[in-house]
Symmetry: C3
C-alpha cells in the first residue's frame, strides 16, 4: 500500500516486496540475500539489524527485497532461504559466544548495502563475540594475508550495541580466504577456552 | 532533589514525580499512562524504551509523570497500573515472537509524546515481532481501512533496535478499529505458523 | 597491525593493546581498569558498552588498554582482572534486576573516559535496574549527602538502551560514600520487594 510504502521510505516502483527476517543471525541472511539478488530481478531495499534477545550476543535481521513483479520477489526469498544452509556453515557457537566467517568471490548488492563492499569484488567478513575475541580475530586476519579493511564495527559503532567485533575486507580471492581461515583457526581455539568446543550447525564452506 | 531534577532535565515546577517501569512491554504501559494523564492533574515528563533482555524481542519501558502535588503523582501511577490489565489485552505471544494492538478513541499526552499522536483524536498502534511479521501487519492494516499513517518504526529507526515493526495511525474511530482487527487476524495466523497459537494473558478489548 | 589500528581509530604509538571484555557487567570492569591504569604504564584507548543478552537488564563491556610495550599491556590486564573480585563487591542482583555501587577516592583515566569523572577526585557511581528503581536511587543519593552530580544516564540516553538508570557524582570522599550507602540501603529494600533478597557474589567494599 502506498502510504506504508511512503512511511517505509520505499521507492514506489517496487510494487512487490519480499521479506526475510531472523531472530538469530544477520551475516548468514545477508550473504544469502546477496546470492538471491544475483539470481533474480530484484533489488535490496533495506537491511536492518535488530538487537534481538534470542541467540546470545549478536544481531537478528530484517531484509526487504523490492521487485516490480511479485514472482520475482517470491523467487528472491526462495533463493535466499535455500542459501541459508550454506551461509550458516561457518558460524560457530558455544555457551560463551559465537564466531562467524563469510566469503564471496563476487559481492553483490546486499554486501554493498550492509557493509559497503565493492560490487563484483572478493569480500570477506568475520565476527567475534564477545567483542574482545573479535578484536583478536581482526588482528589475526589482517596479519595473515594482504587484505584491505573495509569496515571495523564494535559495540559502540556499526553494530546495534551487540557484544561483537565485525571486520570486513576485500583483496584478491586467495588472500581474503587465507585471512578468514587464519582467523577461524584462532577463533575456534580462543572461544573454546571460554567454554565447550565451538561447533557449526551445518557444514563449513570456506 | 533539584540537582537530580536538573540532570534528568525535568522542569522544576514538578515537585513530585510518579514512576512506572517495566522489563516487559512498552505499548501497554504507554496506553495506561495515557488514561492516567486524562484522569489526573499530571503531565508526562518522560517516556523511554529500554531494550531489556527479558520478554523476548521487544521493549521495556520507563514512564515518568510530573505533578505539583505528590497526591496527583501517586494517583497517576495508581490509575496507570489499574489500566495495565486492559492494555495488555491485545498483546499476543508465543515462543517465536509477539503481536500488540492498541486503540484509543481520544489520544492524550502519552500517545503524543511516545508516538506523535494528535491530542483528542482516534489513535491505533500495532506491533509485530519479529519485524518481518510487523511489515506484513502494517501492509494489512492500511489496506483494510482508510487510516492515516503517523509513524512506521523498525529495528534501525524509531525502536531501541528491537526486532519489531511498529505502525501508528489515526482516522475515524471505525476505520482505526477496522485496520487493527484486520491486522490482528492476519498476525495471529502468521505468528502461529512459527510456533504455538499466540495467546493473550488477559482479555482482548478491541 | 596498522590497517586494523586505523580502522579501530587507535593511535599508532601504542604498539601493544590489552583487552578486557565481559558479557555481564560494565561498572566493575571500568573500576578495575581504573586501578590498572594507575598501576601501569598504559592508557585507556576505548571503553564500549555492549547491550549483551546475558546478565539481564544491563551492559557488557569492552575495554582496550594501549601501551608502547607488550609487558605493560599484559600487566594492565592482569591488574584489572585481579581487581574485578573487589569491584563486583557492591553489585547486588535478584531475578527482578540489579543494583551496583562503586567508589574510588581518586578517579583515574577509565572513570574519566567512561563517565567524565575529574582525574584525582573522589568519585561515586550507582546503577539501578530496572530503570524505575534507578530513578529512586538517584534521588536518594543526592538527598543523603552534599554531592555534585556528574551524569545521569537512562534507557534513552547515556546507556546502550539498557533498562538502567546510572548516576555518577563527586564531592568530598565522606559525602560520596554516604550518598552511596544511603542509596544502597534503599535499593536493596526496593529491589527485594520485586523478588528475592538481592545478594552480591563477592564481598561489599564500600
Amino acid at each position: 500500500d502506498s502510504s506504508v510504502h511512503e512511511a517505509m521510505k520505499l521507492d514506489k516502483k517496487y510494487r512487490s516486496i519480499g521479506i526475510i527476517g531472523g531472530r538469530t543471525g544477520a551475516g548468514p541472511q545477508i550473504m544469502a540475500a546477496d546470492e538471491a539478488v544475483k539470481a533474480t530481478n530484484t533489488e535490496i531495499l533495506a537491511i536492518e539489524l535488530p538487537r534481538d534477545t534470542k541467540g546470545g550476543a549478536g544481531h537478528g535481521s530484517l531484509i526487504i527485497f523490492g521487485a516490480e513483479d511479485v514472482a520475482d520477489a517470491r523467487r528472491a526469498v526462495e533463493v535466499a532461504l535455500k542459501e541459508l544452509e550454506r551461509t550458516f556453515g561457518d558460524v560457530y557457537g558455544n555457551e560463551a559466544g559465537h564466531l562467524e566467517f563469510q566469503y564471496t568471490a563476487r559481492a553483490s548488492q546486499a554486501c554493498e548495502k550492509a557493509f559497503n563492499a565493492e560490487l563484483g569484488k572478493s569480500f570477506g567478513l568475520l565476527v567475534g563475540a564477545p567483542a574482545a575475541i573479535g578484536v583478536v580475530l581482526a588482528d589475526t586476519a589482517v596479519k595473515a594475508a594482504n587484505v584491505d579493511v573495509i569496515s571495523y564495527s564494535s559495540p559502540a559503532s556499526g553494530t546495534s550495541f551487540t557484544n561483537e567485533v565485525i571486520l570486513t575486507f576485500s583483496g584478491d580471492s586467495g588472500a581474503v580466504r587465507q585471512a578468514l581461515i587464519a582467523a577461524r583457526e584462532v577463533g575456534i581455539k580462543l572461544l573454546g577456552t571460554l567454554g565447550s568446543e565451538p561447533v557449526t550447525d551445518t557444514v563449513p564452506y570456506i
